[in-house]
Amino acid sequence: MEYRDYYKILGVERTATADDIKKSYRRLARKYHPDVSKEKDAEARFKEVQEAYEVLKDPEKRAAYDQLGSNWKSGEQFRPPPDWASGFEFRGGPRQRRASSGEEVFEDEQFSDFFSSLFGGGGAGGAGPFAGAGARRSRAGRDHHARIEIDLDEAFGGTTRTLELKRPQLKDDGTLELKPHTVKVTIPSGVTEGQLIRLAGQGEPGPNGGRAGDLYLEVHIRPHRLFQLDGRDVTLTLPIAPWEAALGGPVKVPTLAGPVEMNIPAGAQSGQKLRLRGRGLPGQTPGDEYVLLKVVVPRANSPDARALYEEMRQKLAFDPRAELFG
């Protein structure tokens, strides 16, 4: 595993005071927080900052970390010395489990192997090389949260995702190891932006026989080439010809379920919205598809086209600016 320079990550000197560390954390957390940041790689940077702060804000963890010395460089191959933290008493980090599936899924507060190797993952009553002496009683495991990105078409029709989760397991020597575990999740159709999916029993294992927590996937839907999503409704911009707008008639319209025929009312205008009821995302109250009409005017780039426009100019008493001048 690679060494992590927590001081460098927080941008402080090794001699920084607790107040300096807190200030720096607040500044960087504000900059990279995934809910507010527009920075590239904000999620990854925020996790690094959180991990660094988790160690440096805690005097015991910081002292133990400092004991490793200052000669290590970020990214350097690292293995903790067997007795590196002897004499220290602290609990491991509050995070015990990781979820990953390429770049799609991440879990809240996922810390690095470097952190886990130094500080374990023992929560209350948990185990691990640095776990506190919590009472060994049965309790329910905590819930875990991950984020998943899907396409709008997948949200409409449902999809499956194979996730690789890592679960902490207690080894015979009392230390924790992260064991990979593959699950295939069927995501039902009709999921919307920000919606939660519950996977019962896939959270933190319950210590001492307690009930396992649940895994919650927070769904995010990628922007679509044609449709804009708003709740369960979708909006599509539909180009139409001037004669289709003027005369009305049937046109083929894309929907999430495939093309349908829709009747354009005679005298339609650009910017007018038509509704295809129930053609949005499915649900107890299915969403609608809004079709935003956009009249596209062909160019007069041939003698015939010019003749047609000239004829219209002469025969149609039409002044689009009549209202501007009373």
Binding site: K184, I187, G194
Partner: protein, 114 residues
């Protein structure tokens, strides 16, 4: 992937109501904070006493964001509530902007192609 465990996913949708205790666990916030957020109009529970409150699943996302902002950025309840509302307004405006940009882009492309 042959040995992957198949899981049944339960979608928390608008028909689901979540009990206050479960909401607190899910969003990792105290009930008193949830009460304050309800007072500020961020969530609209049903029921009489906070212990018996239930929340529409569609509001979980707001509560989770508020909880994250409070934990990670040290915001107080009012600050988190304000941030949640501003973030939602920002996302709404960004969606509108993208829609308008797309229209402008298409009109521009159409003008160039003719």
């Amino acid at each position: 992937m042959n040995n992957a465990t198949e899981l049944h996913a339960h979608l928390l949708n608008e028909g689901d109501w979540i009990a206050a205790t479960e909401v607190c666990q899910l969003c990792r916030i105290e009930l008193t904070t949830v009460v304050e957020l309800a007072d500020l109009g961020i969530v609209t529970p049903r029921g009489y006493a906070p212990d018996d409150w239930q929340f529409p699943a569609t509001e979980l996302s707001r509560l989770r964001t508020a909880g994250r902002l409070m934990r990670d950025l040290g915001l107080n309840v009012s600050g988190a509530a304000l941030a949640v509302e501003l973030l939602e307004a920002q996302h709404h405006l960004e969606r509108r902007l993208r829609r308008l940009e797309r229209l402008v882009h298409e009109e521009g492309a159409q003008g160039l192609s003719q």
